[in-house]
Amino acid sequence: MLVVSRLPGRAVALVAAAIAFVMLTLGASLAPYVSGGGVVSEPFWGAASLGISGGLRLDGLSLVFVLLITGIGTLIFLYAHAYLKGDPRLGRLVVILVAFMTAMVGAITADDVIVLFVFWELTSLTSFFLVGFDHEKLKARKAALQALLITGGGGLALLAGLVLISIAAGTTSLSGILAAREAVLADPLAMPAMLLVILGCFTKSAQVPFHFWLPAAMAAPTPVSAYLHSATMVKLGVYLLARLNPLYQDVELWQHLLTLFGAATAVTGAVLALRETDLKLVLAYTTVTALGTLVMLIGIAPEQSITAAVTFLIVHALYKAALFMVAGIVDHETGSRDAASLGGLARAMPLTAAVAVLAALSMAGLPPFVGFVAKELIYEAKLELGATANVLLAVSFVVNAATVAIACVLSFRLFYGARKPTPDVPHDPSPAMLVGPLVLATLGLFVGLMPDVLGRSIIDPAVGAILGAPADIRLKLWHGFNVVLMLSAATISVGVVIYLAWARIVPRLRAVSWVDAFSPSRAYEHGLESLLLFAGKTTRLIQHGSLSGYIRTLFVVTALAVLATLAVRSGFAWPEGGLAVDVRALVVVLLAAGAIATMVARTALAAVLALGLVGFSAALLFMVFGAPDVAFTQFAVETLMVAILATALVRLPIRGADLRDRRRKAGDLVVAGFCGVAVVAVLAAVVAAPFDARLSTWFGAESVPSAHGRNVVNVILVDFRALDTLGEITVLAIAAFAVAALLRRVVGARKPASEIET
């Protein structure tokens, strides 16, 4: 990757296109095998210790996606080559796009849910970088963050769901899970798992109410929008729903949810699309519509609707990517993206106009384009359901009519009619920019003319994979005069009517402002703001900057924790026979004297010295009770501590006297007393417990023979537990760094202040 980005920017995109093309041919070469009903399966990167089985799998469903991703990818790279010509960031864009493409292919071919999830998240991540590509613009950054948070949040839900499913199935392998259908459905958590997975897919595929990140993501450069947010990434959720369909297709909740949300999304997208004039936004909302339709079709489930779904998936990818690229061309050449103010461009850009018309006709569903085939299939599927599904039929009708209208806007209105003035002088773009949409649009035509070729080779195995049983699909262009044809004709007529009234509809719909006020997008923004406010408030509460406050909190919590643990575990105990008074313990008197002196000392310096007395008394205590090493260490530490503290007091701006008022002192006294009680309690409990001498005897016995040393303490530190000691001195070193760095600020800052004071 690094090597590639160092090539002259212009070559990078072409290299990437070549890579994509190679992948395409690979996929295409496997197509005949897969079409015949075979499944290509490779064990690949499993991690048995983690319980991940890994594996790659290419079946009909994956094949469709792989061909789409790599095919459109090739064209996109060519397009980007021309679109961002001369832009120094082209290299970066291409690299991230290639990473995205790889992640997409990885997700599609993964046979393991964990691997799939990793690639899923990778696509979200690369999308984040791509949407935020113009990172100097606030709009782009916000949109990128929004997309990441929503798809990432959905990703978490997805992970939870996938984990639950794989636990129920006993394997993380997708093929294994699909085979273990009964086990998965019988699991008590089967429904929550399904819901979580659905949630993940819905966020990724922009279903209502998570649809709003998609239009916002239009802040990305057009090649990115054409690739990710129309043809590939957003379809990933649809892919997973289709992939898991054999598992859930008989579950009523699944059917209802998908159908309901899919339909809602389709309608929402259609209506919102009619409110926009920015070409990219219109296309984004129609993508939302298409995604909704796809989800709805998967939810309906019988063979007809699944066939319709797969066909529509391909069709949509073809025309949408083409139209996005056309929108990019128009933007690039005329300097404007506003459909309301563009018109009559065909004379200046004849080739572009032709391509746009081709793609738009497919979108509108006119014969002989493949879009027509898809629309017919959709209507057929709905009709098959019978009278109860009339609502769905109506939904499809409305949505399709709106789509027709928009298709007309994108072609006729833009390119024909009165010529309107534009910021730049328009002309046909370079071949590299045109080849992409041209190929896609003409594919739409040719496949429409011979739909069965596509049907038998690609759609058939895909449908088989989704249904979990072999299918036999025949696609025809002409089904004869029947209800479906009538419906299609009616749709187109209504669509044209809407188109003619478009200029008046848009402002009317825009005026319905409550849509904006109550949109999920607002909810998201509100939520994000509140979250940040909350975070700020809690931080101010806890990090208040007062050192004595921190210490007080620390002590109170520690004492509480100790006492609470003792209480919960019923650990309070008093050693039997009470505390034996040992003559040696009289050293404690000295210690107590030091402590009291610390309390009543008038200046900080005096307090430090008194504290030193406490330390020395502790050392004496150790010595007297037979722990010479500890005593030795304590003496040395105490000396150093007094010396260092004394120096610190002189150098740092700490006032000498004790400034606390009576109330404060009383409060601190209580805290201190509390701590003292806690310590006594815990020590008493420890002493009361019978002493387990096993470790001590072992160390004592082993010290000389294995470690050649008579000083058990030292031997433990240096030999038996050397690794711990290594960790300790590393911590010491780190502490030294930290203190030195901190002190640099304090000491440095103090100098100017003291100069000012005089």
Binding site: D629, L640, L717, D719, A722, T725, A736, A740
Partner: protein, 120 residues
């Protein structure tokens, strides 16, 4: 004296930590008496470098153990060359020396930053 305490540590009270503390104490009093700059000059290396040296030494002392496939990292090895009596030499001393240097470095770093305007 601190070096004596270091070496003595394995069989009698002493060892790396204590030796290091004593050495640091020495540097400290030297700095109080003669000033921080002279103390730094006397040390020759900067305190943080001592820290690094110390941790490094400790890490290295565990490596010879890896030469023997049956032993884990940080298993200390011993030789007893005969110089009239059996002289115990082992990697444990190297480890302890590492501890010693780290302690010296840490305390000196902290102290010297406090005592003067220049840090580290």
């Amino acid at each position: 004296m601190s070096l004596y305490v270091l070496v003595r540590g394995h069989n009698d009270p002493g060892g790396g930590f204590i030796g290091g503390l004593l050495a640091a104490g020495g540097v400290l009093f030297y700095a109080i008496a003669r000033g921080a700059e002279s103390a730094r000059a006397a040390l020759r290396l900067s305190p943080i470098q001592y820290c690094g040296l110390g941790v490094g030494l400790a890490l290295v002392s565990g490596l010879p153990a890896l030469l023997d496939p049956s032993k884990e990292y940080l298993t200390h090895l011993w030789w007893f060359p005969d110089v009239g009596f059996k002289l115990p030499i082992g990697t444990a001393l190297v480890f302890d020396a590492g501890v010693y240097l780290t302690v010296v470095g840490t305390i000196t770093a902290i102290f010297l930053s406090l005592v003067e305007e220049r840090t580290v």
